[in-house]
Symmetry: C2
Subunit: 256 residues, 2 copies
């Protein structure tokens, strides 16, 4: 069975999709057979990778039994990385997609059928700790909680940890926190260092690798591509940052 | 009955809470008795206004019948603005809060009891078009859809409009789109003008007033205060921007 890792956050727009996509690329490039799963009903993670469109079948069809895993899982241009996109979903069907994903046991079963030849599964989730993210955490082995690095975030880390504990006791004892990931870090902004040191001192699971807010990430995100795919090596430092993150997470997975 | 306006977006982190808070302030300052309602289970909109804390009763208690409207609705430091915060909600109870809010008729009834002496209700919502946002749109008269001004957003505007149409036919014929609001506008970023003109040309309901990404908004947001409350008049231009937005929205409300 593949190792399953969820990228989650309470607040929106903190960089979950950017992290999920670029981490999946870094893991595939170092030889792990990686499956990137898009659980966000608004999702569009990495579609540019597979030259796909939201019109291709994906998770929505797999859940409804309207596609086989071979039809739903896309091979991407990057060896070692495959993608299970959200699938065709009319925006008006979002509540029923959420309902189906969060039905007990459904997601675990669907992932089992899709992850066959993989070493690791990365799940991107919608923001918040609603039923879709809860279902993903219930089916996973590891969680990374992403927080924009600002003082408001310090208030919600405790809540995020309580949710993980609740899921561990209520349904998934194997769930472990792999790390708290500071995102959108702006070192030159006053107060950032104070927030980072509170995270490192107050929450020992805060990762050493942090994700800075840079122009290359913003640009890659508007194109929908991994930052390493930007022309002319524009995203090389950012891609290296994700190699570091992959190193740190793999070391933690093996330690836990 | 008060006029009810929902601020919604498909993507997270596009500035919904920032818009909801600052618009409510601008409307209250021009004399409308305004109620700001926090429907986001991760919410904390404007708590600094009421010197409140997430420990005060609010919507969660009102929904469960554990508080009266007088106990749940907070008066703020600003005359004319009151706040119905999310209320006490353990992060593990988010799925059941969503369930309760989206039970047919419950939100409309709860708002009726809370909006008694108000002219206008502004509802902040979680990101995405899940059941909470759908419930808010079903109970509302107007919707503003916020989009970060980048090319990816152009793809999702059509979906957002389809959801509104679906809600109009499925349950709330009086729901009207009040405007499409470009947010986090960075005029100096290449491509921004092209995106803005596609929004103005392609979607006639795109508002003339746009919300720029500025340091004052980011700073006010970390403090949890309206931008006009920053010391030394630092947020004055931004606060004026919201006066323009309030003008434009009120004119549209009266025309529709
Ligand atoms: N490291 C970064 N540097 C600069 N911009 C970034 C970075 N990470 C994300 N962004 C920008 O922030 C916005 C949100 O990023 P992203 O979509 O990855 O967040 P998210 O948490 O997945 O959002 P959602 O809540 O909608 O799922 C995007 O516009 C993206 O360009
Ligand atoms: N006009 C702006 N200029 C600069 N920064 C902004 C602006 N609006 C919002 N932000 C920043 O963007 C982040 C997200 O803003 P906000 O919380 O208002 O978005 P949201 O759509 O309500 O997010 P969520 O999806 O979590 O509800 C915050 O860190 C805030 O500081
Ligand atoms: Mg995302
Ligand atoms: Mg918000």
């Amino acid at each position: 069975m593949a190792r399953r890792l969820v990228i989650a956050s309470q607040k929106g727009g903190v960089g979950k999709t950017t992290v999920a996509l670029n981490l999946a690329v870094a893991l595939a490039e170092r030889g792990s057979r990686t499956l990137l799963v898009d659980l966000d009903p608004q999702g569009a993670v990495g579609l540019s990778l597979a030259k796909a469109d939201t019109e291709l079948p994906g998770l929505a069809e797999l859940l409804m039994g309207q596609a086989t895993p071979e039809e739903a899982v896309l091979v991407t241009r990057l060896a070692g990385l495959s993608l299970l996109p959200r699938g065709r979903l009319d925006a008006t069907d979002v509540p029923s997609f959420e309902e189906e994903v969060s039905r007990p046991g459904v997601l675990a079963e669907t992932l089992e059928s899709a992850e066959a030849a993989c070493d690791i599964v990365i799940m991107d989730t919608p923001s918040g700790l609603g039923r879709v993210t809860t279902a993903a955490l219930t089916a996973a082995e590891f969680a990374v909680l992403a927080f924009q690095t600002e003082s408001l975030a310090l208030r919600s880390i405790g809540q995020g940890l309580r949710v993980l504990e609740h899921i561990q006791t209520a349904g998934n004892p194997r769930l472990q926190l792999l790390g708290i990931l500071p995102t959108l870090v702006e070192r030159e902004r006053p107060g950032t260092h104070a927030v980072l040191s509170e995270m490192w001192n107050g929450f020992p699971d805060t990762l050493e690798t942090v994700i800075p807010r840079t122009e290359a990430f913003a640009h890659a995100s508007t194109l929908g591509v991994p930052v390493g795919f930007l022309g002319g090596g524009a995203g090389a430092p950012e891609a290296r940052r994700f190699e570091l993150l992959a190193d740190e997470l793999e070391a933690r997975m093996n330690r836990l």
